[in-house]
C-alpha cells in the first residue's frame, strides 16, 4: 500500500471486525444498547459513515476569512485542518504528518503561509501538498531520500470540500453528490433559514466533552417529546411548548431532520398541554426578560429551527440565537461538542449584545444546554452500568402529519438510514 494522499473510500475499507453476534431487534421501534457502547460498531461508523458517503460539517468560512487562515477541526474522530489558500479556496486535510504521523497543528486557529511539522520539518502548503523535506539529498552526498522519492506522493490526506452560504463541509469521498442534492430541497430550505447567504460574524466557540455516544446527540435534537418536558426554561417561557405550532420534517432518506416551532406571544398560560408537564413553573418570572426577547429578523413562520444534518451537525436557530454544533465522536462512550456561535456581519451593537445575552440559554453552561448534557450523561451511565436491553422509541407513527409533536418518528427514520449505511 502506498502512502496514499486520499483516505480509502470508507465503504471499501478493509479489516472490519466480526459483528455477527450483534442482531438488530425485530421491532422497528427498538434500539439495541450495543449501538451506543460497542467499539466494533464505533470503528465501523468511522469507516462507513464519517469517512463514507457523507458531507461532514467542518468549519464556518468566517473562521478563516483571509488567505492563510486556518482552524483545527475533525472529520468524525480524525483531526483535520481547514485552511484557505492564497487564491481564497478552502481546503481540508488530515492533521497528521505523512512522515511519522505527528498531529502537528496544535492551535485552535491561526494564520500561516505553510504548515511545518516540528518533528522533522516536513513542510506542506495551504492545500496540504508536501512542498519540501530537509536533507532530501542527505549530507555530503550520503543519506537522504531515495532517488525515486516524490514529494507529490507524500502529501497530507485530502478531503473533498464544499461550501454553501459560508458553511464548509468535507468528505472523504471523491465523487460526492453536490451538497444541495445531499440535503434535498426541503432540508436545503431549512438550512437557508439559518444561513441565508449574508456574511456572518463569529461571536465565539465553546467546547465540552460528553460522556455519551455521539448518536444520542442526534437523537436529542430529533426528539420533541423531551423538549416539552425536560426544559423548564423552554416550556415556562413558551419557547417550545407542546401546544405551539410545530413541524417535524425529515429528508426522503430519513437521515436529516428539522424540528420547527412557532412561539406565541407571551406566556403559555392557557396551553392545555401544560397540565401534563411537571416542569412548568407557573410562578417563575424573569427579573430581566431581555434574555428571551424575540427581535424579529427573519422572514420565517418559525421562531425556532432545530436542524440535524447527518452525520455531525446540529444547527440551531432559537429566537435570536444562531449556532452550529459540531459533533466529534471520541470512542463509543464519549464525544466532544464544539458550539460555534455567530451573528450577521451587519448586526448593530445592540443586536450583537442581544445575541450574546441570549446565548445564556445554550452552551455547556446554558439554561437548556445543562439539561441536555446532563440527560445524555444519565443515558450513557444507564447503558454502561446495567445489563443490556433494548431502548424503545415508540411514540407517534412513521406515516403521520408533520405537525404531530409527541413522536419519535425522526429518531426511527434516522436508525432506518443508519442500518442501511452500516449494513446492519
Amino acid at each position: 500500500m502506498t502512502n496514499n494522499a486520499r483516505f480509502a473510500n470508507g465503504v471499501d475499507e478493509q479489516g472490519a471486525a466480526d459483528i455477527s453476534d450483534l442482531q438488530w431487534p425485530e421491532n422497528p421501534s427498538e434500539i439495541p444498547d450495543w449501538v451506543y457502547t460497542d467499539q466494533r460498531i464505533y470503528d465501523l461508523e468511522q469507516q462507513r459513515i464519517f469517512r463514507g458517503r457523507t458531507w461532514n460539517y467542518v468549519a464556518l468560512e468566517v473562521e478563516l476569512p483571509k488567505p492563510g487562515d486556518y482552524i483545527r477541526s475533525y472529520l468524525g474522530d480524525t483531526p483535520i485542518i481547514v485552511a484557505r489558500d492564497e487564491a481564497g479556496e478552502v481546503h481540508a486535510f488530515e492533521n497528521r504528518c505523512a512522515h511519522r504521523g505527528a498531529e502537528f497543528c496544535k492551535t485552535y486557529r491561526g494564520s500561516a503561509k505553510q504548515f511545518v511539522c516540528p518533528y522533522h520539518q516536513w513542510t506542506y502548503d495551504l492545500s496540504g501538498e508536501l512542498v519540501s523535506v530537509p536533507f532530501r539529498r542527505g549530507v555530503k552526498g550520503r543519506g537522504g531520500m531515495p532517488a525515486d522519492f516524490k514529494l507529490g506522493e507524500h502529501s497530507l490526506r485530502k478531503l473533498s470540500v464544499t461550501c454553501r452560504h459560508g458553511v464548509v463541509f468535507a468528505s472523504a469521498c471523491e465523487d460526492m453528490e453536490p451538497f444541495e442534492d445531499y440535503l434535498g430541497p426541503d432540508m436545503l430550505d431549512q438550512f437557508d433559514t439559518v444561513f441565508d447567504g449574508r456574511p456572518l460574524k463569529l461571536l465565539g466557540v465553546h467546547r465540552n466533552t460528553m460522556p455519551g455516544n455521539w448518536k444520542l446527540y442526534q437523537e436529542n435534537l430529533k426528539d420533541p417529546y423531551h423538549a416539552t418536558l425536560l426544559h423548564t426554561y423552554l416550556t415556562t417561557f413558551g419557547l417550545f411548548v407542546a401546544g405551539n405550532k410545530t413541524m417535524i420534517m425529515t429528508d426522503p432518506k430519513g437521515r436529516h431532520s428539522t424540528l420547527c416551532n412557532a412561539r406565541p406571544q407571551g406566556r403559555p398560560e392557557n396551553d392545555q398541554s401544560k397540565t401534563e408537564i411537571r416542569s412548568f413553573h407557573a410562578a417563575m418570572e424573569l427579573a430581566d426578560p431581555r434574555v428571551i426577547q424575540l427581535i424579529p429578523e427573519k422572514d420565517s413562520p418559525w421562531t425556532s429551527n432545530a436542524i440535524t444534518l447527518w452525520p455531525n451537525l446540529v444547527l440551531l436557530r432559537q429566537t435570536n440565537i444562531l449556532g452550529a454544533r459540531h459533533i466529534v465522536p471520541m470512542g463509543p462512550n464519549q464525544f466532544m461538542l464544539i458550539w460555534t456561535t455567530f451573528g450577521f456581519a451587519d448586526d448593530d451593537t445592540d443586536m450583537e449584545d442581544h445575541r450574546l445575552r441570549q446565548n445564556n440559554i445554550f452552551g455547556p453552561g446554558g439554561f437548556i444546554g445543562i439539561d441536555d448534557n446532563e440527560a445524555i450523561k444519565f443515558v450513557q451511565d444507564g447503558l454502561l452500568h446495567s445489563v443490556p436491553r433494548h431502548g424503545v422509541a415508540p411514540l407517534g407513527q412513521d406515516e403521520e402529519d408533520s405537525d404531530v409533536v409527541i413522536t419519535d418518528r425522526a429518531i426511527r427514520s434516522m436508525y432506518r438510514h443508519y442500518r442501511e449505511e452500516m449494513g446492519l
Binding site: 465553546h206 423548564t232 430581566d288 453552561g365
Partner: protein, 172 residues
Amino acid sequence: MQPALTSPVKGKLDRALARELRFAVEEFNFDYAEVLDRGEIESWPDFFTDDGVYRLIARDNADYDLPLSLMSCEGKGMLKDRAYAIAHTEMFAPRYTMHIISQIRVTDFEDQIITAQANYAILETLIDEPTRLLQCGKYYDKFLMQGDSLLIKERRCIYDTVLVPTCIVFPP
C-alpha cells in the same frame, strides 16, 4: 496559546495599602467560595452591586477577542435569573463543588474601586465518581469598596479548562 490578559501592578499603589486591600479581597473571595460551595446559589447575587457584571469566558475566546461568554449576567436582574434557574429549573445530577482560590493580587485602587486578580480552581464531585477538576482559571475583578465591605462591580472568570467536562452548572 498566548499569555492571558495580565495587568502589571501599578507603581503608585502604596505597599501597605495594597496588603490591606489584598487581605480584604481575600476575605471577600473566601466568603464567595463558601457560599457557592455550600450550594447557596440564591445568595450569590448578593455579592454584586446592582449594576454588577459577571462573565465566564473561555480562554481561547478571550485570546482571540471573541465576545461570547459561557455565562453572562449584566446587573442584579440577570444574576438573580441565573441563580433562580439553577435552583429551580435546571436538571442536573447533585454535586459537591470546592473552590480553591489563591495568588490574589491587587493591581489598582482608585475612586473606591479595587482592581484585583486571583487564580481559582474548582473541584467537582458526583455520586459514585472520583473527584475531578472542573475548572481552573483567573478572576479579573473590580470591587466597589464601601466602608470595609466589598461588592463585585465586575468579575470576569477566564478559564484555561477550555474543554469543559460535560457542563458547568454553578458559576465559578
